[in-house]
Symmetry: C2
Subunit: 459 residues, 2 copies
């Protein structure tokens, strides 16, 4: 068993600061447990009440007769040292301090007291303070205070996400619930007074349920430790990082947010590159990269074949492929001849391969199959304009069939309203990643190729 397992797989839980008061955080957290599988193994701690939401309330965590694996603390900052001390004395394995009001607002005295308790004990690991807690989809664990009527629940999946920021983390989790790919685990670690991003990275690197690690960080606490773990992890599974505070002028903001120094941009970029970490420049890239890395096989090289039924759409896509530093594949001359023979003269056998406006699913199918068998092609972008009369559900059927055995990445780009969106959903449900914008898809392929390259050179 891993030291941090109790943050995701606790058997008995105490909620210190649990409350019955409407719209309070103490209530939201307690209720999330009552709605889960641990409802009979969760104990409220609150000295001011005898019962909370119908459950016997304990004056202190030490008053609970059972062994406690996980304590979630939501009391005001000044009370944290006392209740944390009691957790260590009870040998609670995992403590999440949700409470804010420490170094992030410049507070020193209570922060020092908490640090002393953390440093003086060895049996209790602490997450936070100023954090949002954890989620684990395999057992439906939710230690956060997210309100379920406002926040969607992501599907079970293999992407784990660790976030220095709580609120942004929740928004991302909420967004994830709208996607076809799923979440394994989520951790918001806030001020990282004990457990830091490197510890969590280590945990996820060893977690069999995690295939992709995504991170939002503002700073790294111990550079060397982080780098060592990241380097090892990258060879096993991809790490995608969105670094907040990349600009010098945003450093002040990160200091007041999670009390961390954002540090020099160039230093971070070099560090990420060396460790094989894929850096996302914004939220859109973070999502895109995670999705593609989870779903697509790694390409052998840099060459992209574009297949389209709209010439202009092909050209703007080619621009984006080249802009990202990828190559336009040169179709193998033998395959070129075969395609020339099979297709009407209006079709341009090149890259983009323009199947023109009357292309149906058969034309697409042949073009994609040939590209899959072409050694000059590493990745395939299929552009489909659903507005043309010859395109209908047939293309969805063909793509599904091809995707099942495809050993190269295939992304679909399509743009349009209701009809197009309906077909897009069908494709996504079948495990085919779709995009509205060629630029976003191209950036995703670039990240995939870069990661493949890192593994090839360091594996």
């Amino acid at each position: 068993m891993h030291l941090l397992d109790s943050f995701f797989f606790p058997k008995k839980v105490a909620v210190i600061g649990a409350s019955g008061q409407k719209e309070s955080i103490g209530r939201a957290i307690f209720e999330n447990f009552l709605n889960g599988s641990l409802k009979n193994s969760t104990f409220p701690v609150n000295p001011n009440h005898d019962t909370i939401l119908g459950k016997k309330s304990y004056k202190t965590v030490k008053g609970i007769a059972k062994k406690i694996d996980l304590a979630v603390i939501v009391v005001p900052a000044r009370l944290v040292p006392q209740v944390l001390k009691e957790c260590t004395e009870k040998k609670v394995k995992a403590v999440i301090i949700i409470s804010a009001g420490f170094s992030e607002i410049g507070e020193k005295k209570v922060t020092a007291q908490v640090q002393k308790i953390i440093d003086a004990n060895s049996g209790t690991r602490v997450l936070g303070p100023n954090c949002f807690g954890t989620l684990c989809t395999s057992n439906n664990l939710n230690t956060t205070f997210s309100a379920s009527e406002k926040t969607g629940t992501p599907k079970k999946g293999t992407v784990s996400f660790l976030s220095q920021s709580g609120a942004l983390g929740v928004a991302i989790i909420d967004w994830m619930s709208t996607q076809e790919f799923g979440l394994s685990k989520f951790v918001s670690y806030g001020n990282a007074m004990d457990i830091d991003e490197a510890d969590l990275l280590d945990y996820f690197s060893k977690d069999p349920d995690t295939k992709i690690i995504t991170m939002y960080i503002e700073g790294v606490k111990e550079g060397r430790k982080f780098m060592e773990i990241a380097k090892k992890t990258s060879l096993k599974k991809p790490i995608v990082v969105l670094k907040g505070g990349v600009h010098g002028k945003t450093h002040a903001a990160t200091a007041s947010h999670t009390g961390s120094l954002a540090g020099n941009t160039e230093v971070y970029e070099a560090m990420f590159k060396q460790a094989g970490i894929i850096q996302a420049k914004d939220l859109q890239e973070l999502f895109t990269f995670a999705k593609i890395l989870e779903n697509e096989p790694l390409p052998k090289g840099n060459s992209v074949q574009i297949i389209t039924n709209g010439g202009g759409f092909g050209i703007v896509t080619a621009d984006q492929v080249l802009y990202e530093g990828l190559e336009l594949a040169k179709i193998n001359p033998k395959i070129k001849k075969e395609l020339r023979k099979a297709f009407p003269s209006t079709v341009t056998i090149s890259n983009p391969l323009d199947l023109v406006g009357d292309a149906d699913e058969k034309r697409y199918s042949l073009a994609i199959t040939k590209a899959l068998g072409d050694k000059n092609v590493d990745m395939i972008m299929v552009l489909v304009l659903f507005n043309t009369p010859a395109i209908d559900s047939g293309i969805v059927r063909e793509l599904k069939k091809i995707k099942k055995s495809a050993k190269k990445p295939i992304l679909v780009v399509t743009i349009g309203s209701d009809y197009t969106q309906k077909k897009r959903k069908e494709l996504e449900k079948a495990g085919i990643i779709t995009f509205s914008y060629p630029s976003v898809a191209a950036r995703g392929l670039k990240a995939l190729a870069d990661y493949a390259d890192f593994k090839k050179n360091h594996g």
Copy 2:
């Protein structure tokens, strides 16, 4: 009356090559007219049939007794010279040649014949060939063959769009139908043998129904003519251009697409800049810029104030604002004091202005109102995480109220699932532009500021 008016406001129309055959282009175009207000003023021309879809069919356009303003030609390329000749003899004012198979596939003979007819006459203006036709929302004119069950109809609006590519144009029009902003006119001009992008730009510059001009072009036919018109137009209304084939390696593709030379990237970029044209790097930017330019007032300068209820969300947004070359506004010291007094100590009065997780609509309202009155602030980005308990429909109401009289651009960025998307829709319906990604919003503000700057320096 403008020379090109007949392409958008014809009174009598001939469809040459109209057909009753299912899934044919000739039928789709004719049907689009039969479904519109010109159903009793549209005449099919097809020598092989006596009637088409219940309407008397004419052997030639000259056989129609009435004066014809607009002829749409959909016959095979080799027959185009003959029917075009007849149109000029009948003095049809506007001819749209939908038919393909000319210079774009390297065809020379028929192309030369068509060119000769165009050059030899002065009464008939020709759009195309290899084009998609026109749309005009004020009179519901649709000269294209788009199938209505697959393609949405954009709302009436003030954005006009001219596209060298047909298919991409239709996909964009279809996408537009999902948006809260609307279309004025659409033209796909294909090979531009007579009317080119400069002529259309001139038309839109004088069109009172057009407030924003958007373009997809692969090449410019006559650089000097285009520049002259663009420069004049930019001072009156913004022009947003997506240039296809910006990379040298995509030039071959544009040649086989619309038969145009894409030309040197740097030359085009310099040309656009000099003419005050806003260049979109991809489709996402094209849409974003059009939306923001249509909706928002022009800012006085470069400074952005970020207002957020999530620290991390604020930081990633600040990164994007700086990345685009915009400035983070420095709050006026007097206003800073007022805010410090009004807000709890947990609120960080800076940029980003972090209202923290328990912020409600009143806190937002005060922050935004103060930013509107702050001379140091030119533009405002409001970030709302709807997942927090204190945020509900109240923020939508407040933003609506504020937006009504706001004289500075205000964009909203918010990310999340169902609840968030519902609130986003409410905001969009109220004329407030929303984004999921800070990066996209920041790029939009940069375009707006650049255009404002051009007008200031050249106005």
